[in-house]
C-alpha cells in the first residue's frame, strides 16, 4: 500500500490545489507535496514493500533506483517554485500548481508501473499534464512551443500505444496469453513472436524516444525548454525524460528476453550516438542559452541510450547518469531561469553580461555548465566515465571514440555560449530591469543545493545508491 501512497499523495495535493481558494497561498502546497513525497519515498527505501506477484504497480528494483532522484528533484524545485510564483503574481497559479503536483504523481506511477498498458496511460497523462505548464507564460512563443510539444509528443505517445499493442499481440500469437505485466512478458521470453516483438520495439523506441527527446524526434525540446519557466524545464529534463527512459529500459528487458537483445542494443547505441552528434552540432550554433540546455538534454539522453546498450555495466552507468544529469540540469535550469528573468531574453545579443546582472545565478550557471560537460569532480564526470569504461569493456571502441568526440564538441558549444552570455556588458534595457529583479535566497538556494548534490554524487557516491543501481541493472538484463 505504501507504493500507492507515493502516487496518491501528489494527486491529493493536485486536488487540494484545484480547490484552494486563496491565490496568494496556494503555492505553499508545492513544498508540502514535495516533502511528503520525499518522506514517503524515503520510507519506501528503508522499508521496501514485498513484491506482489502479478500486481500492476510495484516498487521494484528499477523504481527504487530512479524514483528517489525524481523525488529529490521535485523537492528542491518545489522550494524554488514557492519563490518563483511569488515573483509572478500576475499569472493565476491554480492550474500550474495542480499540474505540477499531478505531474509528480503520474511520474511516480509510471516509474512504478509493472504493466505495459498502465505505463502507457501514465506517460500519456503526464504528457497532457505538462501542456498547461508549458504555456504558463501565455506569450505567442509559449503557445507555439506548447502546440509543437502536444503535436509531436502526442504522436509519439500514439506510436508507443501502437507498439504496446504489437507487444501484446506478440504474446497473443506466441503463447495465447494476454497478461501484459512486464514480469509475465519476460517469462514468456522466447515464446513471444519475434517479428511482432521487433515491430513493437521499433514503435515503442520511437514513441518513448520522442518523449525522451532522442534525435531525430527531439524537435519539440528546444522550443519547450526555451519557452517554459525554468522550474518546468528542470522537471521535464529530469523527470519526464527519466520516466520515458525507464519505459524504454523495461521494454528493452522484454525484447531481450524474447531473444532480440542484440537488435535492441544496437538500435539504442545508434540512436544514442546519433542524438549526441545532432545535439553537439546544434550546440555549436544556437544563440539561446535556454535552448542550449535543451540540446544539452538531447545529448544526455543520447548518453543514457548509449549506456543502456552496453550490458550490465552500461546500465549501471546509465542509472548513475540519470541521477547526475537530472540533478545537474536542475541547477542549470533554475539558474538559467533567473538569468532569463533578469535579462528579459535568453538570446545572446540581448542577454549578455549576466555576471553583473545576476552575480550568483551566473556563477552557479557557469559551474553547472562545467559540471554538465563532465568536468571533475561533479557527478556527470563519473557517470560518463563509467559509460566510457562500459563501452571499452564491451569492445565498442568506435562508439567510444565517437562518444568522446561528441562530448568534446558539446563542451566547446556549451562553454562558447555560456561565456558569451556571462561576459560582456549588460544591455541598457536589461540594466533597467535590474530594479525589478533581485536575487533572493528563495531562488538562489535551490540551484545551489542541486550543485552541491551533484558534487556529492561525484565525490562521495553513497554505497547504498550504488547498490540500488547494481541491483536494478541486474534485474533489467535477461540472465543468459
Amino acid at each position: 500500500m505504501k507504493e500507492l501512497l507515493v502516487i496518491l499523495a501528489p494527486f491529493a495535493g493536485a486536488i487540494a490545489a484545484l480547490a484552494w481558494p486563496r491565490e496568494g497561498t496556494r503555492r505553499r502546497l508545492l513544498p508540502v507535496v514535495g516533502a511528503a513525497h520525499a518522506v514517503l519515498t524515503g520510507w519506501l527505501l528503508v522499508d521496501p514493500p514485498a513484491a506482489v506477484e502479478g500486481s500492476w504497480i510495484g516498487f521494484d528494483a528499477v523504481s527504487r533506483a530512479v524514483l528517489p532522484a525524481v523525488s529529490l528533484l521535485f523537492l528542491v524545485c518545489s522550494f524554488y517554485g514557492l519563490s518563483y510564483l511569488r515573483l509572478r503574481p500576475e499569472r493565476g497559479n491554480r492550474i500550474f500548481v495542480a499540474s505540477l503536483c499531478g505531474l509528480l504523481g503520474l511520474l511516480s506511477l509510471s516509474l512504478q508501473a509493472q504493466h505495459l498498458g498502465l505505463l502507457w496511460v501514465s506517460v500519456e497523462a503526464a504528457t497532457l499534464s505538462t501542456v498547461p505548464l508549458l504555456h504558463f507564460n501565455r506569450t505567442g512563443r509559449a503557445v507555439e512551443a506548447a502546440w509543437k510539444y502536444l503535436l509531436i509528443g502526442g504522436t509519439g505517445i500514439a506510436l508507443s500505444l501502437l507498439g504496446s499493442f504489437c507487444l501484446g499481440y506478440a504474446s497473443l500469437v506466441g503463447t495465447g496469453g494476454g497478461d501484459l505485466t512486464f514480469a509475465a512478458l519476460g517469462r514468456e521470453g522466447a515464446a513471444l513472436s519475434r517479428p511482432w516483438v521487433l515491430a513493437a520495439w521499433v514503435l515503442l523506441l520511437v514513441g518513448y524516444g520522442t518523449k525522451m527527446g532522442l534525435a531525430p524526434m527531439h524537435t519539440w525540446k528546444p522550443d519547450a525548454y526555451g519557452e517554459a519557466p525554468g522550474i518546468v524545464g528542470a522537471l521535464l529534463a529530469g523527470g519526464m525524460t527519466t520516466a520515458a527512459f525507464v519505459a524504454i529500459l523495461r521494454v528493452r528487458q522484454v525484447v531481450d528476453a524474447a531473444g532480440e537483445g542484440l537488435v535492441a542494443n544496437r538500435t539504442l547505441l545508434v540512436l544514442g550516438l546519433f542524438s549526441m552528434v545532432v545535439a553537439a552540432l546544434f550546440l555549436l550554433g544556437t544563440p539561446d542559452f535556454k535552448r542550449m540546455l535543451a540540446y544539452s538534454s538531447v545529448e544526455h539522453m543520447g548518453i543514457l541510450s548509449v549506456g543502456a546498450a552496453l550490458g550490465v555495466g552500461g546500465l549501471v552507468a546509465s542509472l548513475f547518469h540519470v541521477w547526475s544529469n537530472s540533478i545537474t540540469k536542475g541547477a542549470l535550469f533554475l539558474s538559467a531561469g533567473n538569468m532569463r528573468r533578469a535579462a528579459g531574453s535568453s538570446r545572446v545579443p540581448e542577454a549578455t553580461g549576466m555576471v553583473w546582472l545576476t552575480p550568483v545565478s551566473a556563477r552557479v550557471f557557469a559551474v553547472g555548465v562545467f559540471a554538465i560537460t563532465a568536468c571533475p569532480p561533479f557527478g556527470p564526470f563519473f557517470s560518463e566515465l563509467q559509460v566510457v569504461r562500459a563501452a571499452s569493456a564491451a569492445g565498442q571502441t568506435g562508439a567510444m571514440f565517437l562518444f568522446l568526440g561528441c562530448l568534446l564538441l558539446a563542451f566547446l558549444g556549451l562553454t562558447r555560449l555560456a561565456f558569451s552570455v556571462l561576459d560582456g556588458r549588460p544591455r541598457r534595457s536589461a540594466d533597467a530591469s535590474r530594479d525589478r529583479f533581485r536575487e533572493t535566497a528563495g531562488i538562489l538556494v535551490p540551484p545551489l543545493v542541486f550543485l552541491a548534490a551533484s558534487l556529492w554524487l561525484g565525490l562521495a557516491t553513497p554505497e547504498w545508491l550504488r547498490g540500488l543501481w547494481d541491483e536494478a541493472a541486474r534485474t533489467l538484463t535477461y540472465p543468459g
Binding site: G117, E124, G140, L150, T155, L162, Y169, V173, P222, D223
Partner: protein, 213 residues
C-alpha cells in the same frame, strides 16, 4: 463475416485516401468522422456472441469519434472563422499517391507478420498500418491546425483498428484508455487552437515560426 469485416476496413482505408485528397476542411472533418463511425462498428462484427463491454466500446467509439469530436472541430471552424481551403505542404496528388503506396505497402508488410488463426484473412493489420501512415501524412503535409488534428484522429483510428486484435484477450482498459486520451487530447488541442486563434487571428501553424534555429 470476415468479408463484411474486410469490406468495412476497405472502406476505412478508402476514407484515408478521401481525407488525403480533400481540399477543404469540412470535407476532411467529414471523412475523419465517417471513418470513426466505420471503425466503431467493427467490434460488433468481430464477435459472433454479444458482449456488453464490446457493445459499449463500439457505441462509445461511434459517438465520440463519429459525432462528438467532429462537431467540436466544426464548431471551432465556425467560431474561429477559419478559411476553409487548405494549402498543403505536400500536394494533394503526391499525398494521395503516397497514401495509396502506404496502403499497398501495409498489405505487403502485414503479410510478413505472423497472425493468429482467427485473424488470418482479415485486413485489420494492414488497415491499421495504412491508416497510421495516412494520419502521419496529414500531420506532416497540412498546415492548418484543424487539419493536423484530423491527421491525429486518423492516427488514433489506425491504432484503434490494431487494438481490435487484442480486444478479446486483454482487459478493455487499453481500449478505454484510447477514448479517454482522445477526448482529452482533442480537448486540450481545442483549447490551444483557441489560444492560437486569439494570439494570431489565424489557424495557420506555418505562422508559428518564431522558434526556429
Amino acid at each position: 463475416m470476415s468479408s463484411n469485416l474486410n469490406l468495412l476496413i476497405g472502406i476505412a482505408m478508402g476514407l484515408n485516401l478521401v481525407a488525403l485528397a480533400s481540399g477543404r476542411l469540412p470535407s476532411l472533418i467529414r471523412a475523419a468522422a465517417m471513418q470513426g463511425v466505420v471503425i466503431g462498428v467493427l467490434p460488433l462484427l468481430m464477435h459472433s456472441e454479444f458482449h456488453w463491454l464490446v457493445a459499449a466500446v463500439s457505441a462509445g467509439t461511434v459517438v465520440v469519434k463519429g459525432f462528438v469530436i467532429p462537431s467540436l472541430l466544426q464548431r471551432a471552424l465556425r467560431a474561429a472563422h477559419i478559411d476553409r481551403e487548405m494549402e498543403p505542404l505536400i500536394g494533394f496528388i503526391p499525398s494521395l499517391l503516397l497514401g495509396a503506396a502506404a496502403s499497398i505497402g501495409a498489405i505487403g508488410f502485414a503479410g510478413a507478420l505472423p497472425l493468429r488463426p482467427e485473424h488470418a484473412g482479415v485486413l485489420l493489420v494492414p488497415g491499421a498500418f495504412a491508416t497510421v501512415v495516412c494520419g502521419f501524412l496529414l500531420l506532416m503535409g497540412r498546415t492548418k491546425a484543424i487539419s493536423q488534428v484530423c491527421g491525429y484522429l486518423l492516427l488514433e483510428n489506425g491504432i484503434f483498428l490494431f487494438g481490435l486484435l487484442l480486444i478479446r484477450s486483454t482487459p478493455l482498459i487499453v481500449e478505454a484508455g484510447i477514448l479517454l486520451d482522445l477526448t482529452v487530447a482533442v480537448f486540450v488541442i481545442g483549447i490551444i487552437v483557441d489560444r492560437i486563434q486569439r494570439e494570431f487571428d489565424t489557424l495557420d501553424t506555418r505562422k508559428l515560426t518564431a522558434l526556429r534555429e
